[in-house]
């Protein structure tokens, strides 16, 4: 998709003032929302504990629960498909559309369909997909990928959205006023209403699969999922196999922590609960297909990163990550970003020179794990990927060389102290030379100063102070 690797993309992002501004605004918005929800929910930590156990149990029982889900969904009249990888899932989805003569598709936001790059595939088979989540619609018109798992257009300003709408909605009066957000929302509402009512097929993801009743549960705030799943005559849901839980009691708890962690709401504005196709004189599609997507998940389940499958895609780890909130989602080079993306992307795309970089995009501050509603030990999983990358020989010669020096120093205290002492003196000199702040460093230090200044080191090192205090 892009020729730059993570470092290149991140560097580019850091030099984009409009993007860094948007990210700073979003970070405050989401973090405050979650904090407020936590504060007004006395049971929040208890709910997190239960959600954590529920998701771990679901992983342990996944094959049984999937079979139960399949049996119940089939009994309710749905057709369940299994897709080993992205190509499988795409072929199944287009096959269903073709079998039903469906050429106009509406879609609700689905990270699974982003993951399998469904839209391009549909287009190449003569099926036109229209994204209906406002953020997804905007980035679809712009030909971009989502930069946040729950706020795909987080990187854009309203002026950019207005520009996009003017370019796309050429049938509307060019002199209309769409300078305000409300006008933009209204224009999209009218445009997408037409698409909803004209579509042959609605394609959604799934937030939860409830094994007990063979039910798909989806959440949205706009109501677009309800329309996508109910207006056309055909419904296709694409769900990662890890979404399954045992019961409605489990689903209820997951929904409670999901809404609070994602947007700071007690309940998402719309929760859509789908069981089989419409029967008798029920309203809704007469045909319902569910595609269960593996695409690396069963391999993930077998290794030391299985806990990642507990993820409920709330986005809290992105919103609280100092790296994500500085570089944004596009730097991660895939639909998933932030700490969860850094763990998931190598599992889905395989460990390559580029994806092996992602687990390095962390300061290991641990905030992601602290806010994760299902307590996934993200820093530990990132470390596992680093170990795997090292074992696979992926770090460059330079990186290995650097690690070798580090090991030599850290196992020889005298050498460590000597190096530290001389480096601190050197840096203090540079800072004095550059006027009190370190603005530019040569060689390997260039990366540190490319986008920020550094304060000079303290006169006495931590170790020296520690020795002095004891």
């Amino acid at each position: 998709m892009t020729t730059l690797d993570f470092k290149g993309r991140a560097a580019k992002a850091l030099h984009d003032p409009q993007l860094t501004g948007a990210l700073a605004r979003a970070k405050g918005h989401f973090a405050l929302g979650r904090a407020a929800a936590k504060a007004r929910t006395p049971d929040f930590e208890m709910l997190r504990d239960r959600a954590t156990a529920i998701r771990r149990r679901s992983i342990a029982l996944m094959p049984d629960l999937l079979e139960r889900f399949e049996a119940r969904a089939t009994a309710a009249g749905a057709t369940v498909h299994w897709a080993a990888d992205a190509a499988d899932a795409r072929a199944i989805a287009t096959g269903i559309c073709k079998a039903h003569g469906a050429t106009r598709a509406i879609k609700s936001k689905s990270m699974a369909t982003e993951e399998i790059e469904l839209n391009a595939h549909l287009l190449s088979h003569g099926i036109t997909p229209v994204e209906t989540d406002l953020g997804e619609y905007i980035i679809q018109l712009r030909g971009e990928t989502p930069s946040h798992i729950i706020a795909p257009a987080v990187h854009l300003t309203k002026d950019q959205v207005a520009e996009t709408f003017r370019a796309a909605h050429t049938d509307l009066d060019p002199a209309r006023d769409i300078s305000e957000r409300q006008a933009l929302v209204k224009e999209a509402r009218v445009k997408l209403r037409e698409a909803f009512l004209a579509a042959d097929v609605g394609i959604t993801g799934a937030n939860i699969l409830v094994a007990e009743t063979g039910t798909i549960v989806l959440v949205s705030n706009e109501g677009n999922i309800d329309l996508t799943a109910s207006a056309p005559r055909l419904h296709i849901a694409i769900a990662g196999i890890e979404k399954v839980v045992e019961s409605w009691d489990d689903a209820g708890i997951v929904l409670r922590v999901l809404a609070r962690s994602a947007t700071g709401q007690d309940m998402s504005s719309y929760v859509t609960v789908l069981t089989g196709p419409a029967q008798g004189d029920e309203v809704g599609p007469r045909t319902s297909h569910i595609i269960l997507l593996d695409n690396g998940r069963s391999t993930l389940a077998a290794g030391n990163k299985a806990e990642m499958l507990a993820c409920i895609r709330c986005g809290a780890c992105l919103n609280h990550c100092p790296v994500y909130t500085a570089v944004g989602g596009h730097a991660y080079g895939g639909p998933y970003s932030g700490p969860m993306g850094a763990v998931l992307t190598p599992a889905i795309d395989g460990l390559t020179k580029d994806t092996a970089n992602l687990p390095n995009a962390s300061s290991f501050c641990g905030r992601c794990e602290a806010v994760c509603p299902v307590r996934i030990p993200l820093p530990m999983l990132l470390r596992h990927w680093r170990e795997d990358a090292y074992a696979a020989g992926l770090p460059t010669r330079g990186e290995r060389w650097g690690l070798g020096i580090w090991r030599a120093l850290s196992t020889r205290p005298w050498a460590y102290r000597l190096t530290q002492w001389s480096a601190a003196r050197g840096l203090r000199f540079v800072s004095w030379w550059q006027g009190g702040r370190i603005k530019r460093l040569p060689f390997a230090g260039r990366g540190f100063t490319a986008t920020r200044d550094i304060a000079p080191p303290a006169a006495k090192s931590f170790q020296a102070q520690w020795r002095g205090r004891r």
Binding site: E222, S269, G284, A301
Partner: protein
């Protein structure tokens, strides 16, 4: 080997530690479910009122809509009420089409979150909330559940409807500059009318 066998086989190849079953969440139900529902709904940008007799519905709706809207979609179950006496013209729900305002009874509601429940089994489907600009929901007090779990159990019976639409407050979006705007795709405004 089929994809199904491949996936299930891979999953079964690993034994995971199995945590104990998790206790269901059963928060204490408020004494007055109707009052709790209204309070929670108001907290998410809906409005709510209570009437003591269904006969008062047309007048309540007219008051809520104000003078600008006089024609609205009225669910079949409510069509017999004295709408013209309240200055309103009731129309049959248009099915899958836009409407300025729609009044219909809901089959359930959730007090914990201020949520309304529409289903594929309703004669008018979910459209009063999804395609009307203003959704006026008639909520019989006896149909309010304390929690989501209770509501689903109540509606499941032999088989869950094809779709349940749990709507909490008006449709909203924060997708442009993370600023809240109401009325993205579903109802722009939601008004609850509690009835006996």
């Amino acid at each position: 080997m089929s994809a199904r066998d491949l996936i299930l086989g891979r999953l079964r190849a690993t034994q995971h530690r199995l945590p104990d079953p998790v206790a269901p969440y059963r928060p204490e139900a408020p004494a007055d479910l109707g009052a709790a529902l209204a309070a929670r709904a108001r907290a998410v940008f809906a409005t709510a009122e209570e009437i003591t007799s269904l006969d008062d519905l047309p007048a309540a709706v007219a008051r809520y809509l104000g003078p600008d809207i006089t024609t609205l979609a009225v669910a079949a179950e409510l069509r017999h009420l004295a709408w013209s006496a309240a200055g309103l013209t009731p129309a049959a729900p248009p099915g899958r089409a836009a409407m300025a305002a729609s009044v219909a009874p809901v089959v359930g509601a959730i007090a914990e979150t201020g949520t309304l429940i529409l289903t594929s089994r309703d004669p008018h489907g979910p459209w009063p909330n999804l395609l009307a600009d203003r959704h006026i929901a008639v909520v019989p007090r006896g149909l309010i559940s304390a929690t989501l779990e209770e509501a689903v159990a109540r509606l499941a019976g032999n088989r869950l409807p094809r779709s349940l639409h749990l709507a909490t407050g008006p449709s909203r979006t924060g997708d442009i500059e993370q600023t809240l705007e109401l009325g993205a795709h579903g109802a722009v405004a939601v008004h609850l009318v509690l009835t006996p």
